[in-house]
Point group: C2
Chain length 248, copies 2
DNA sequence: CTTACTAAAAGTCCTATTGACCTTAAGTCG
DNA sequence: CGACTTAAGGTCAATAGGACTTTTAGTAAG
């Protein structure tokens, strides 16, 4: 029941949890990456993550890593399991499989309150994916799949509001969609969709005066989790493409 | 770096792959289950699955188990990773996490060509989920999530055709939707949707004469994988509920 | 041969959604 | 005050889809 030489033997493996933590900063979709301080892939960028500990649940490990890396409070964010990656060659040190999680957080004031000494930093997703030297391990693939999942989630669920700090405006929310999807939406039609979908957002009654234009009504997250009918990407044909367009 | 007593230590775990294999038989959604021949959960029903072997990829392990259990050829089916379950108490023998896969196959002539001696058999999903004595391990939860995933996949993708043996009729395909979703659809509107969606099905030109009614045109699977716009459950309001309705 | 019956296939009608576009409201700045 | 900007709200037409009807093409019974 131990490994080596018998190909039919069970394999003892180490399990890690890796996090794709997205936020919308400076009107771009950004992902939290660390620079690896030791081999393998020393000096390369990687997704934050770590080994699961004895007796620890997967979700708990993901939440722990998230807090170590960002110091966020668990309530304000969206966390879901993405997929498990287990190719034998993905880690040169041996058989390590990783359970990837997708986290969506608002643009936190604390960027990297890492208990961890490793330097964690936000980087624009489109830029990371275009870079010649990719991420460590199979993290490029994970990041790509996370991006696709996030884009898809915005179609069918209300998670986009997880990127917003309450209270927020309809324009704030629209900006999330535009940044994640990589193209502009019609402001008027977007408002209609959001406000007429029960439980997507609820008005606070307050308004926010901004530098330019009419003051915008403020909202908080509603109770609905699913969008039906969905808000499809195919619809809302692009007014103008954003930089992220280069990815697809 | 070994386990016990230090809660911050990494845990060496065993990894299994468990399969939720769905098919549509006798106008019901059925799942392939095995009866466990040894502890733990001896005599209880469980999802087919097994340990990953040294150097084996997750997908390869899933495919291998699938073939051991059903003897299907890999080409005719749909296989996707569902989710990973890793609660520390899920297996009384120790730390074992499982990567669950969802497989959709047509009603195979060979029901259980198991190389494996264990008795595998098709059982109606609704019946299994209603039974007092549940499945072994956390397989009830996995089965429930697999069912929800399958239902959702039918909305957004063309995988329903993976349940059909080519060539098939529009009614065959509609039957898949009705059985998986648990309610009747309007035959006319369903045909319109399927035939007007590019790449969902393509006509063979042949017809199948049946006992009753006008002969039906035959189709094979199209090249499209995604349905846009989707075919939502919320729409197509139920004509009459089927037995599966009890689940929701 | 004719009629009844069934299911397939095709068409009609109406409503809801939504993309494109326009108008008005409410603030700032010069 | 007028120019400008964004929010908010409305109109219009195209489309998708639910409910329903009609026609087609087969089988089985009389």
């Amino acid at each position: 029941m131990i490994n080596r030489s018998d190909s039919r033997a069970r394999e003892q493996v180490l399990v890690t949890v890796d996090l794709v933590i997205f936020t919308v900063r400076e009107d771009r979709l950004q992902v939290l990456l660390i620079e690896r301080g030791q081999p393998p892939f020393e000096g390369r960028l990687a997704l934050p993550g770590g080994y699961i500990r004895v007796g620890e649940r997967l979700d708990a490990a993901a939440l722990r890593e998230l807090q170590e890396e960002t110091g966020v409070d668990g309530s304000q964010l969206h966390l879901e399991q993405l997929r498990t990656y287990g190719d034998p060659e993905r880690d040169p040190r041996g058989r390590v499989i990783t359970v990837a999680y997708l986290a969506l957080t608002p643009d936190m004031p604390v960027a990297r309150a890492g208990t961890d000494a490793r330097s964690a930093d936000w980087r624009p997703v489109d830029q990371v994916l275009q870079e010649e030297a990719g991420l460590a391990f199979d993290h490029d693939v994970i990041l790509r799949e996370a991006l696709e999942r996030a884009r898809s989630q915005l179609e069918y669920t209300t998670v986009a509001s997880a990127f917003c700090i309450e209270p927020f405006t309809i324009a704030d929310l629209r900006c999330v969609y535009e940044v994640v999807w990589g193209f502009k939406l019609d402001p008027s039609n977007f408002r209609r969709k959001v406000t007429r979908t029960d439980g997507f957002v609820e008005p606070t009654g307050e308004h926010r005066v901004q530098e330019l234009g009419r003051p915008a009504a403020l909202y908080r997250r509603g109770t609905a989790r699913l969008l039906s009918p969905p808000l499809l990407r195919s619809s809302e044909v692009a007014h103008s493409q954003l930089s992220t367009a280069a990815l697809r």
